[in-house]
C-alpha cells in the first residue's frame, strides 16, 4: 500500500461500493437472461470472498505495529465501519430478525444491550486503553497490575469467551457456504475457514481492518435493500422505519382475532427440530422488567469486555479519535439493528394477514403445501405446516418456521427476484467472516504477544513473533472449524454465552484498572479467576437442572459472575497492599489524553 492510501480511503471504498452495486445489477441482468439461481448464489459468494482475499493480500505486512494495531492510523469513520462489521456477527445478520419475530419484546432486550454497551465502551474504557498504547487487552491487564499471572489469566478469559463465540461464526460461514455452493456442511466449514484466514493471515490487524470495511459495505447493502424493497412492494411505506405503525397495529389485531392456541405436546413432537410457531405478542410487553433488564445489562457489560471489539479502538490515530470512533461504530450498527424489527414486522404480516396475497393463515393446508416457496423452504427444513385440529385450514398455531427463514425466505415470499437472495447470502457470509476474523485474531494475538513474547521468550525478534502469530491463527482457526463441524449448540446460544464469560472475568478488572487506583495485582487475580469460575459454575449448575436464583438464567449468568468478580476484587485489593507509586503514576498518566502512550511504539 502506498503512503497516501489513508487519504484516498473515501475514493477507494467509493469505487468499491460502485463496483459492488454494478455487480448486483449485472447479476440481475443475468437472472433475466436465464442464469440459474444456483449460479447466481455461487457468483455472489465467490466474487465477494475473492475481493476480500485480494484486500487481505494487498495488506500484507512484516511490521509488528501494522500486524497488531494496523499501524494506528485508521480514521474514525472507517474504524467505525470495521467495528460494526467486527461486531455484527452471522447471528445478528441471519438470526436477529427471526428472534424478534418469534419472541418479541423479551428478545429485544438484546437490541438495547448490544447497543447500550457502547456507551460503557466510550466512557469507561476505549479512550484510556488507547492512551495506554497496548497491542492486546491482556497487555493492558498485565502492565497495569504487573506480573505474568494477571496477564495469563486475562488471556484465559479472553480465549474462553472468544472461542465460544468463534465456533458459532465458523458454523455460520459453513452454513452459508454449504447452501450457496451446494457442498456438504462438514466440507463447507473448511471453505469458510480458508476464506476467513485469507483476510487475516498476511496482514493481521491491518488486513482485517480493510476487509472488515469492505464486508460492512456488503452486509449493510444486503440487509437494507430487501427491507426497503419489501416495504415498498407491500405498500407499507417507502421508509419502513417511520411508517410501519399501521402494520404493527394490524399484527396486534390479527393476534387478537386468531388467539395464541397452545398446541398439545404430542402434536408438537411432529414439528421438525429448530422450528417454532408464533406464540408471543409482537409489540406488547411480554417479559417481566427484570427478565428484560437483566438480559440487557448482561449484554451491555459483555460488550464492554469483549476483546475483539476493544482492540479495534487501539487502531485509531489518537485518544480523541478513539472516542469519536465508538460513536461512529454505534451509528453503523444502528443502521442494521433498527431495521431488524422492521423486517420482522413485514415478514410476519405478509405471512399471517389473510387479506394480503402472500398471507397463508386461513388458507387450506393443501393450498399452502402447493406454494413453490413453501415447498423450497420446507425442503430446506425451515418451514412446516400441519393440520393439528383436522379442519383442513391453516391456523396460526399450525404454522412453524425456523428463525433464519425471516431473513432468508422473506424476499422470496414477497416475490423479490432471486438476485436478492444471492445478495443476502453474500451479506450473511460477510457478517460471519468479519466477526470470525476479529475473534480469531484477538485470540492468536493474545497468545502470540502476551504468552509467547511477553512470558516465554521476551527476546524474540519481530519476524519470529509474526511467524508464531500466524501459525497460531491457523491452529486456532482449525480448532474452531473442527468444533463447528461437530455442530454442538445453536448459533445464538453460544454467542450470548461469550458475552457472559467476558463480563464475568474481564469487566471489573478492566474498568477498575482505569477508575480505581487502589486496585492491585492480587485483587485483579481474584477478580478474573473467581469471576470466571463462578460464572462457569453457575452455567453448569443451571444447565444440569439447577434452579438458579434471582431470576438469573443460563443466558445471564455473567451477572452472577461479574458480581463475584467485583466483590472479590475489591475485598482482596483492600486486604493487600496498595499498588506501587510507579503504578499509581502510570494510572494518572492514562487519565490524561495528551502525551506519549504508556507502552512504546514497538513493544
Amino acid at each position: 500500500m502506498k503512503g497516501n492510501f489513508i487519504d484516498n480511503l473515501p475514493k477507494v471504498y467509493g469505487i468499491y461500493t460502485g463496483g459492488f452495486v454494478g455487480f448486483i445489477i449485472l447479476m440481475a441482468i443475468g437472472e433475466q437472461m436465464g442464469m440459474s439461481s444456483k449460479a447466481i448464489g455461487i457468483c455472489f459468494v465467490a466474487f465477494t470472498v475473492f475481493i476480500y482475499a485480494i484486500i487481505g493480500y494487498l495488506s500484507r505486512t512484516a511490521q509488528a505495529d501494522a500486524y497488531y494495531v494496523a499501524g494506528r492510523q485508521v480514521p474514525t469513520v472507517f474504524n467505525g465501519m470495521a467495528t460494526a462489521a467486527d461486531w455484527m456477527s452471522g447471528a445478528s445478520f441471519v438470526a436477529m430478525a427471526g428472534g424478534i419475530y418469534f419472541k418479541g419484546y423479551g428478545y429485544m432486550a438484546l437490541l438495547v444491550g448490544w447497543t447500550g454497551g457502547y456507551v460503557l465502551v466510550a466512557t469507561l474504557l476505549a479512550p484510556y486503553l488507547r492512551k495506554f498504547g497496548c497491542y492486546t487487552v491482556p497487555d493492558f491487564i498485565g502492565t497495569r497490575y504487573g506480573g505474568n499471572l494477571t496477564r495469563f489469566l486475562a488471556v484465559v478469559v479472553l480465549t474462553v469467551a472468544s472461542f465460544t463465540y468463534v465456533t458459532a461464526q465458523i458454523n455460520a460461514t459453513g452454513t452459508i457456504a454449504s447452501v450457496a455452493l451446494d457442498i456438504p456442511f462438514q466440507y463447507a466449514v473448511y471453505v469458510g475457514l480458508v476464506s476467513i484466514l485469507l483476510c487475516s493471515m498476511l496482514g493481521g490487524m491491518r488486513g482485517v481492518t480493510w476487509t472488515q470495511v469492505a464486508q460492512y459495505i456488503v452486509l449493510i447493502i444486503a440487509y437494507l435493500l430487501p427491507v426497503f424493497w419489501i416495504s415498498n412492494k407491500m405498500g407499507a411505506g417507502f421508509f419502513p422505519h417511520f411508517m410501519l405503525a399501521d402494520e404493527v397495529a394490524r399484527i396486534g389485531e390479527l393476534e387478537q382475532q386468531f388467539g395464541f392456541v397452545k398446541n398439545a405436546a404430542a402434536d408438537l413432537k411432529s414439528v421438525p427440530k429448530g422450528l417454532a410457531g408464533i406464540t408471543k405478542a409482537h409489540s406488547a410487553v411480554n417479559a417481566t422488567p427484570w427478565a428484560f433488564i437483566s438480559l440487557a445489562l448482561a449484554m451491555m457489560m459483555g460488550t464492554a469486555s469483549l476483546p475483539h471489539v476493544m482492540m479495534r479502538y487501539f487502531t485509531t490515530p489518537s485518544v480523541k479519535a478513539a472516542r469519536k470512533s465508538v460513536g461512529w461504530s454505534l451509528f453503523f450498527i444502528f443502521l442494521l439493528y433498527s431495521s431488524a424489527p422492521m423486517l420482522a414486522t413485514l415478514s410476519k404480516l405478509s405471512l399471517i394477514d389473510p387479506s394480503l396475497p402472500t398471507g397463508i393463515i386461513g388458507k387450506s393446508i393443501a393450498e399452502v403445501q402447493s406454494i413453490d416457496w413453501y415447498q423450497n423452504w420446507n425442503q430446506a427444513n425451515l418451514m412446516f405446516v400441519s393440520d393439528f385440529n383436522g379442519n383442513g385450514t391453516l391456523e396460526l398455531n399450525e404454522f412453524f418456521m425456523g428463525g433464519k427463514a425471516v431473513v432468508l425466505a422473506t424476499p422470496e415470499i414477497a416475490g423479490l427476484p432471486y438476485v436478492i437472495s444471492g445478495l443476502v447470502a453474500a451479506g450473511g457470509m460477510a457478517a460471519a467472516m468479519s466477526t470470525a476474523d476479529g475473534l480469531i485474531l484477538a485470540i492468536a494475538n493474545a497468545i502470540s504477544h502476551d504468552v509467547y513474547y511477553k512470558i516465554i521468550d521476551p527476546k524474540a525478534e519481530t519476524a519470529k513473533r509474526l511467524v508464531v502469530a500466524r501459525v497460531l491463527l491457523v491452529v486456532i482457526g482449525f480448532a474452531g472449524a473442527t468444533i463447528a463441524a461437530m455442530e454442538i449448540q445453536g448459533i445464538l446460544g453460544s454467542v450470548i454465552w461469550a458475552f457472559d464469560f467476558a463480563m464475568s472475568g474481564l469487566f471489573f478488572p478492566l474498568v477498575l484498572g482505569v477508575w480505581w487506583k487502589r486496585a492491585n495485582k492480587e485483587g485483579a487475580v481474584a477478580g478474573m479467576g473467581l469471576g470466571l469460575l463462578s460464572g462457569l459454575g453457575y452455567l453448569i449448575w443451571v444447565r444440569n437442572g439447577g434452579s438458579g436464583f434471582l431470576g438469573i438464567t443460563q443466558l445471564t449468568f455473567g451477572i452472577f459472575g461479574s458480581a463475584v468478580s467485583l466483590v472479590s476484587m475489591v475485598v482482596v485489593s483492600l486486604m493487600t497492599s496498595a499498588p506501587s507509586a510507579a503504578t499509581q503514576k502510570m494510572v494518572d498518566e492514562v487519565r490524561v489524553p495528551s502525551g506519549k502512550s504508556i507502552l512504546g511504539k514497538q513493544h
Partner: protein, 86 residues
C-alpha cells in the same frame, strides 16, 4: 488541587452524567415497560416498543457523540488535547 486533579474531577463528573442518561434509557424506562406501552410513541408505534426498536438505540448514538465533544472541551480547557497531526 493540581491541574491534573481538576481535569480528572471534571472528567468524572461528565462520566456520571453520561452514565445517568445511559441508565435511564437502557434500564430505567424498562422498569415501566408495560405501563409505558399503552401510550403512543413517535411515528405511531406503541411507546415501549418504539424505544426497543429505535428510541434507546438512537439516543445511545447521540449520547456518545455528545460525550466525546464534551470530553474534548474539558481536555482543551486544561491543555491536555492532542496535537492535530497525531
Amino acid at each position: 488541587m493540581s491541574k491534573q486533579e481538576q481535569h480528572w474531577e471534571k472528567t468524572r463528573g461528565l462520566l456520571f452524567m453520561t452514565l445517568a442518561i445511559w441508565f435511564v434509557f437502557s434500564i430505567g424506562i424498562f422498569l415501566f415497560g408495560a405501563e409505558m406501552n399503552t401510550s403512543t410513541g413517535p411515528f405511531g408505534y406503541p411507546l415501549t416498543y418504539w424505544f426497543t426498536c429505535q428510541g434507546s438505540l438512537g439516543i445511545f448514538v447521540i449520547l456518545i457523540f455528545w460525550f466525546a465533544n464534551r470530553q474534548e472541551k474539558i481536555d482543551e480547557e486544561f491543555g491536555f488535547s492532542e496535537r492535530e497531526d497525531d
